[in-house]
């Protein structure tokens, strides 16, 4: 057969590779910065942009979508061409994908620092960027499928299945979770409210971990591990089971982020059961990776790439064992809302994603620049520094999480809570300091890598178009029986549709009942929509990322009810677009702040200006700009109208008079502040935020509040 000559496109791989390195460093610096803010609140510089609530999304988005995202694309563009024995489908699409993705990252960084956020973790980006992500993702999809279709290798290697499943699932997750009503150019409201929003968000959030941080990286593992070890994967059969079981089960596990919340019980149980089942495919994958190295362990001692791969795959195994255990309700009761979760995700982030990226970079740079690594010794040093960094990062946080949770739950013999919330925070400050040392070590390891790679690049010469040869694929029709999975492997589109059906089932089964059945979200007659001022205050709360440190979800535990008041009910959140339950309590829960701190206007005023003046030892940042900036009331009518579209029962035409009610409430709050000897103009942002905080949780107080609530249409 005539052998065809063609060229692999290394230039696009190089571009994504550089982006991986740059954004890895940027994301880690942002991470270290926010870690320091935990024990040195002055590190916020009292600037809005560098305050924890805005910088933390920059860290998470930079690491997930910029660092790991570019790492995935580097690996896919490199391996897909070689596994399909063809060049990428279109150079133009490749470059649109590259620049489109980098533009999205730049837009994300700017808007997040400016406080433009949808308020949903890992999906913070506002609607114009959401649309751009969809477009670029489609471009990537066309390019990937085009390449698969014009391939010269009949069979789709297992790595490619993971790429296909990733593409289709991320598309589905992104579109469903980003459904929102635009209010202004950079502000939107989630289409879903309260419990439903929480369910969709964590279905997304959990599967962003599954299908952005796990499945594509598993694809990279199935390619780069055999390449680096120079031996085929341990069991190809196991990889088939790994793939189908993993993508089917993963999609169901989202509700384990919402245990003991107001989410219906059956959905919580479903999440737990599927999370436990996940151990099996995950460990199957890990063992498949590790067993590939059997008989080659002597090479692990010498080869830094293999070292990184071994620890990466081990961390994958540890993380996927810990995840299901954290999904057990009795363990989750201790771990949730504490630093335990942060430790858990960083085993995955630093260990699995980070080390996979480092392994790939150390493998690719010498190959593509046709040289050898500048210094194996430096790479080995990087390996050890980063490994110690992970340990120093995670152990203190496990300790901190466990200690704090137990302190929250400790009662005195008289039946009182033994520790104030602040005491449980100041107690773990030494752990926060140690954690940041671990993070700093990890970052310095990465900087050593940058130097090592730069020297390697300088000594080599880049092969932009790598020559290769292969016979064209013949479309033969063979008589007789054929192994069913091989038939599937030859049809990428069938694979895509099957994968989509499998992942869609999990989402639908969990969502449809929650969305449609009344008994799942019992309505509470006294729950009323927010007043215009409270709504504006709520948007400030979202903008400053308060939900990243404060939950609004009181679980039905003795200590939580004692500390924060009546446990949260599903019906209390029906007007919350988006929900603000939070996932971490660096500060106390605020679900009933308006009840706990009734008439606390002056307290909030002083506390937000300087938290330490009211709570000595607090690590909360100062929000000084809220006292200078005027509240933008021009947006009020549009916001009311958007809420009406979403089903919030404001009376018809309320948008036109909303600002009158807003000013009235501002005046009443400034009057209360004046009684406390605080003079402030009424139109400042701080007044709106205070209005919102004082409203929180008051709806189901025994004595109903009627004063400043807006008139509503009849609620069914």
């Amino acid at each position: 057969m005539q052998v065809e000559k063609f060229y692999y496109d290394n230039k696009i791989v190089k571009a994504f590779l550089y982006a991986t390195v740059v954004f890895g460093i940027v994301g880690m610096i942002a991470g270290l910065w926010v870690a320091i803010e935990f024990y040195y609140p002055g590190a916020t510089l009292n600037l809005p942009a560098t305050t924890f609530g805005r910088l933390r999304p920059v860290h998470t988005n930079a690491i997930i979508f910029a660092f790991v995202g570019n790492c995935i694309f580097t690996g896919i563009y490199y391996s897909l061409q070689r596994l399909c024995k063809t060049r990428m489908f279109s150079n133009t699409l490749s470059w649109i994908h590259f620049w489109g993705w980098q533009a999205i990252i730049a837009a994300a960084a700017i808007t997040l620092l400016l406080g433009y956020t949808s308020g949903k973790e890992y999906a913070e980006l506002e609607w114009p960027i959401d649309i751009a992500i969809t477009v670029v993702w489609v471009v990537f999809g066309i390019n990937m499928f085009g390449t698969i279709i014009k391939r010269r290798e009949r069979h789709l290697y297992v790595a490619i299945w993971f790429y296909i499943a990733t593409w289709v699932t991320v598309a589905m997750l992104h579109i469903v979770n980003s459904m929102e009503i635009p209010v202004t150019m950079w502000k939107s409201y989630s289409l879903y409210a309260g419990v439903q929003d929480a369910l969709v968000q964590w279905w997304y959030g959990h599967n962003a971990v599954a299908f952005f941080l796990t499945t594509p990286v598993l694809g990279l593992m199935y390619y780069f591990l055999p390449k680096a070890a120079n031996r085929p994967i341990y069991s190809y059969r196991l990889s088939i089971i790994h793939f189908w079981a993993l993508i089917f089960i993963y999609i169901w596990a989202g509700p384990h982020h919402l245990l003991y919340t107001a989410l219906p019980d059956w959905a919580q149980s479903l999440g737990t059961v599927f999370s436990l089942m996940l151990i099996f495919p995950s460990w199957g994958g890990m063992l498949n990776g590790l067993f590939t190295l059997r008989g080659a362990w002597d090479r692990v001692r010498e080869e830094p790439v293999l070292k990184f791969l071994v620890v990466a795959v081990t961390c994958y195994g540890m993380s996927t064992l810990e995840g299901p255990l954290l999904s057990l309700k009795n363990i989750n009761a201790i771990s949730h809302f504490t630093d335990w979760t942060i430790a858990h995700v960083h085993i995955g982030g630093l260990g699995w994603n980070g080390f996979m990226a480092f392994a790939m970079l150390y493998y690719l740079v010498p190959k593509m620049w046709n040289t050898t690594l500048y210094s194996k010794k430096l790479a080995t040093n990087h390996f050890w520094i980063a490994t110690i960094g992970i340990v120093l990062y995670a152990l203190p946080l496990y300790w901190a999480g466990f200690t704090q949770s137990i302190m929250w739950k400790t009662f005195t013999p008289e039946g009182q809570l033994k520790f104030s919330f602040l005491e449980t925070v100041t107690n773990i400050i030494p752990m926060y300091i140690t954690r940041s040392v671990g993070g700093a070590l990890y970052l310095s390891g990465a900087l050593i890598m940058v130097y090592n790679l730069a020297r390697t690049i300088r000594q080599g010469s880049f092969i932009a178009n790598e020559e290769a040869e292969a016979a064209p694929m013949v479309r033969e029709s063979r008589p007789g029986k054929e192994y069913w999975h091989r038939v599937l492997e030859r049809k990428p589109l069938t694979m895509l549709v099957l994968a989509l059906i499998l992942v869609a089932i999990g989402g639908l089964v969990e969502m449809i009942p929650t969305f449609l059945i009344k008994s799942n979200i019992p309505t509470i007659a006294s729950v009323k929509p927010y007043t215009p001022l409270e709504l504006q205050g709520r948007d400030i709360y979202v903008r400053e990322g308060c939900y990243l440190c404060h939950s609004q979800m009181i679980r039905p535990f003795r200590d939580e009810v004692k500390r924060y008041g009546e446990y949260s009910k599903a019906g209390e959140f029906v007007y919350d677009h988006p929900f603000q339950w939070g996932s971490k309590r660096t500060g106390p829960d605020l679900a009933r702040e308006g009840v706990i701190r009734k008439n606390g206007e002056a307290w909030h005023y002083n506390h937000l200006y300087d938290p330490r003046s009211m709570s000595p030892g607090s690590i909360m940042p100062q929000y000084v700009w809220l006292f200078d900036d005027d509240l933008d009331t021009a947006t009020t009518p549009a916001k009311i109208r958007a809420m009406q579209t979403l089903g919030v029962p404001y009376t018809r035409g309320y948008d036109r008079v909303a600002n009158v009610a807003l000013v009235r409430q501002e005046d009443s709050i400034t009057a209360i502040l004046k009684q406390n000897k605080i003079e402030t103009p009424p139109n400042k942002e701080i007044v709106a935020l205070i209005a919102y905080l004082e409203r929180l949780g008051t709806d189901i107080e025994l004595a109903p509040r009627t004063d400043s609530l807006p008139p509503t249409a009849s609620v069914k």
Binding site: S239, I241, W484, V509
Partner: protein, 54 residues
């Protein structure tokens, strides 16, 4: 656009659970059997795909 309370109740909600469980079970068993009876030589060939290129 209002996504709350379209229906008072859904009859036979348990069918969701049963359908998904049986679907998962079926797929898992099919994959398991398929993998078990797979041709050894073919499996070896497939797992060697990444090693064929440089």
């Amino acid at each position: 656009m209002k996504f709350i309370n379209y229906m008072e109740k859904i009859s036979g909600i348990d069918i969701y659970g049963l359908v998904s469980l049986s679907l998962f079970f079926t797929i898992f068993v099919v994959v398991l059997i398929g993998v078990a009876v797979a041709d050894k030589k073919k499996m070896k060939k497939l797992s060697n795909i990444p090693l064929e290129s440089k």
